[in-house]
C-alpha cells in the first residue's frame, strides 16, 4: 500500500522529533497499520544509515582525491569528475611504497634496538586505569571551569578536560592529579610527570598514594625503568596503599 502524503509527513515529523500533540494522536492511530509501521521502521533505518553513508562519502574524498586538486570555489554538485593522470597515479603509488617501506623499517628498527621499550609502554597502558571522576558540580557558578573539567573527564574527553583544568587559576592537588591522568590518557607522559612533581601533602594524605601511582605510570610511559621501579617498590611495601597489588604485579613483570 502506498502511503498518503499526510502519513509520510507524520513519519518525517516523528523521526525529526517534530510532532505536535494533535499530530501525535494521529500518528498513534496510524500505528495500527502494518504498512505504516513498516515504512516507519524503514525510514528510521535510512536515517541511521545516513551517518554511515556520509562518513563513507567523506572517507572516499579523503582517500581518492589529493587535497590540492579540490577546487574550493566550484560547487561540488557541478564539479566535473577528473580521472587522475597516470603519472600522478604512479607518483602516488611510489610515494605509498616508500611510506610503507619507511613505516616497516621504523617498526623493525624499534623491535630490534629497543626490545624493552614497548614492554614498558604496554605495562603503562595495562595499568593506567584513570582515577574515577569526582562529583560533577552541576549548575553552580562558583567553579564553572572545575565542573566542566570534571564533566569532560567523565566523558573521556581528556583534551577538553585538560584545557578546563588548566584554565582554573587555583589548582588543587586533586586537580593536578586529574590533569596528570588526562595527560597519561593522551600519551603525554613527560607533561604528566612535570604536573605530578613537587606537590605537598599532609601526613597520611591518601592523595599521595594516587600521585605516586600515576607518577610510576608516567615513568613507565617514558620508559624510565629505574625511576618507575623506585616508586613501585615503595608502593609495593605499603600494605595500606590501594595500588600495592598492582605495583607488585608490575615489579614481578619487570624482573
Amino acid at each position: 500500500m502506498k502511503l498518503s502524503e499526510k502519513q509520510f509527513d507524520l513519519i518525517h515529523k516523528y523521526l525529526s522529533d517534530g510532532l505536535n500533540s494533535s499530530e501525535k494522536s494521529d500518528f498513534n492511530k496510524h500505528l495500527g497499520s502494518s504498512d505504516f509501521r513498516e515504512e516507519l521502521m524503514h525510514q528510521a533505518r535510512l536515517i541511521d544509515s545516513l551517518a554511515e553513508a556520509d562518513a563513507s562519502l567523506v572517507r572516499d574524498s579523503l582517500q581518492d582525491k589529493p587535497h590540492l586538486s579540490v577546487v574550493k570555489d566550484e560547487p561540488t554538485a557541478h564539479r566535473p569528475h577528473r580521472s587522475p593522470h597516470s603519472s600522478r597515479r604512479w607518483l602516488m603509488l611510489a610515494g605509498a611504497f616508500i611510506f610503507l617501506g619507511t613505516a616497516f623499517w621504523l617498526m623493525t628498527q624499534n623491535q630490534e634496538t629497543q626490545p624493552k621499550k614497548s614492554n614498558l609502554i604496554q605495562l603503562a597502558e595495562t595499568y593506567d586505569t584513570p582515577l574515577p571522576p569526582g562529583q560533577v558540580l552541576r549548575g553552580t557558578d562558583e567553579q564553572p571551569a572545575q565542573s566542566k573539567a570534571m564533566q569532560a573527564y567523565a566523558n573521556e574527553s581528556y583534551e577538553e578536560a585538560l584545557a578546563y583544568f588548566r584554565s582554573n587559576t587555583s589548582q588543587s592537588v586533586l586537580d593536578k592529579i586529574y590533569m596528570s591522568n588526562c595527560l597519561i590518557q593522551l600519551g603525554r607522559f613527560e607533561e604528566a610527570k612535570t604536573t605530578l612533581k613537587g606537590m605537598n601533602f599532609q601526613k597520611n594524605d591518601k592523595l599521595k598514594d594516587d600521585a605516586d601511582w600515576y607518577m610510576a605510570i608516567a615513568q613507565l610511559g617514558l620508559e624510565d625503568e629505574v625511576g618507575a621501579k623506585t616508586i613501585l617498590s615503595v608502593i609495593a611495601q605499603d600494605s595500606d596503599n590501594i595500588y600495592q597489588a598492582n605495583a607488585q604485579k608490575i615489579l614481578k613483570k619487570l624482573k
Binding site: 525529526s16 509501521r37 516507519l40 544509515s49 551517518a51 553513508a53 572517507r59 584545557a163
Partner: protein
C-alpha cells in the same frame, strides 16, 4: 589552528567543504603513523584503519562544538587513534538511535525483527548513492540535521539561510527527495 580558523573550519565542514580537512589529513598522516608505530600504539594495519576514523571524529567534534581549541592537531589525532585502538571501539561512528526509538515504540506490538548485516550494508550503499544525487544544499542540510544533529537555527546561520523556518522547509523537501531517490535505487 586558531579559534578563528576553527570557526571557519566548522562553517566549511557544515557546508561539506572538506578542503581543510583533507589538508589536515594529508599533513598529519605521516607523523601520526610514525608516532603510532614507534610507540607501539598500533600496528600498521590498525593505523591505516583508525587514522581515517580519527579524522572523521575530529570532523564531528569540530561541527558539534566539542573542539573549541586545537593547538596541536597531530597530538589530538594521535590520542583519538590511540583510544580507538585500545578500546577497539569504532561504534562512535555507528549511531542507530532512530531504529532503537522505533523499536521501542513497537515493543508493545511484538516487533522483534532483526536485520541481517548484508541488508544493512546494501542500505548504506544505496543511502550513499541517493545522497550524492541530491543538490549540494540538500546534502548539507540533511547531514547537518540528521548526522551532526544541529538545530534548525544553527543550520540556517551556518549555511547562510534567512531563518530556521526556511531551513526546516528546505529540510522537509530534501528529505522527500532523498527518500524518493532511495526508493528509485531499489529499496
Amino acid at each position: 589552528v586558531t579559534t578563528q580558523e576553527l570557526h571557519i573550519l566548522k562553517k566549511d565542514l557544515i557546508a561539506r567543504d572538506h578542503t581543510t580537512l583533507n589538508s589536515l589529513y594529508a599533513e598529519n598522516k605521516k607523523d601520526c603513523f610514525k608516532i603510532l608505530l614507534s610507540k607501539s600504539y598500533a600496528s600498521l594495519d590498525q593505523a591505516e584503519q583508525v587514522y581515517t576514523d580519527a579524522i572523521l571524529i575530529l570532523r564531528q567534534n569540530i561541527i558539534s562544538g566539542k573542539v573549541t581549541e586545537l593547538t596541536n592537531p597531530l597530538s589530538y589525532l594521535v590520542s583519538i587513534c590511540r583510544n580507538l585502538v585500545r578500546n577497539e571501539n569504532r561504534s562512535q561512528l555507528k549511531k542507530a538511535k532512530k531504529e532503537e526509538q522505533v523499536r521501542l515504540l513497537f515493543y508493545n506490538n511484538g516487533y522483534n525483527e532483526v536485520e541481517d548485516t548484508a541488508e544493512k550494508t546494501q542500505r548504506i550503499q544505496i543511502c550513499k548513492k541517493a545522497l550524492s544525487t541530491l543538490t549540494e544544499r540538500c546534502q548539507q542540510i540533511l547531514t547537518a540535521y540528521y548526522v551532526h544533529r544541529l538545530r534548525m537555527k544553527e543550520i540556517a546561520e551556518e549555511l547562510g539561510l534567512s531563518s530556521g523556518d526556511v531551513a526546516k522547509t528546505l529540510k522537509s523537501r530534501c528529505y522527500k527527495s532523498w527518500i524518493s531517490a532511495v526508493k528509485e535505487l531499489g529499496i
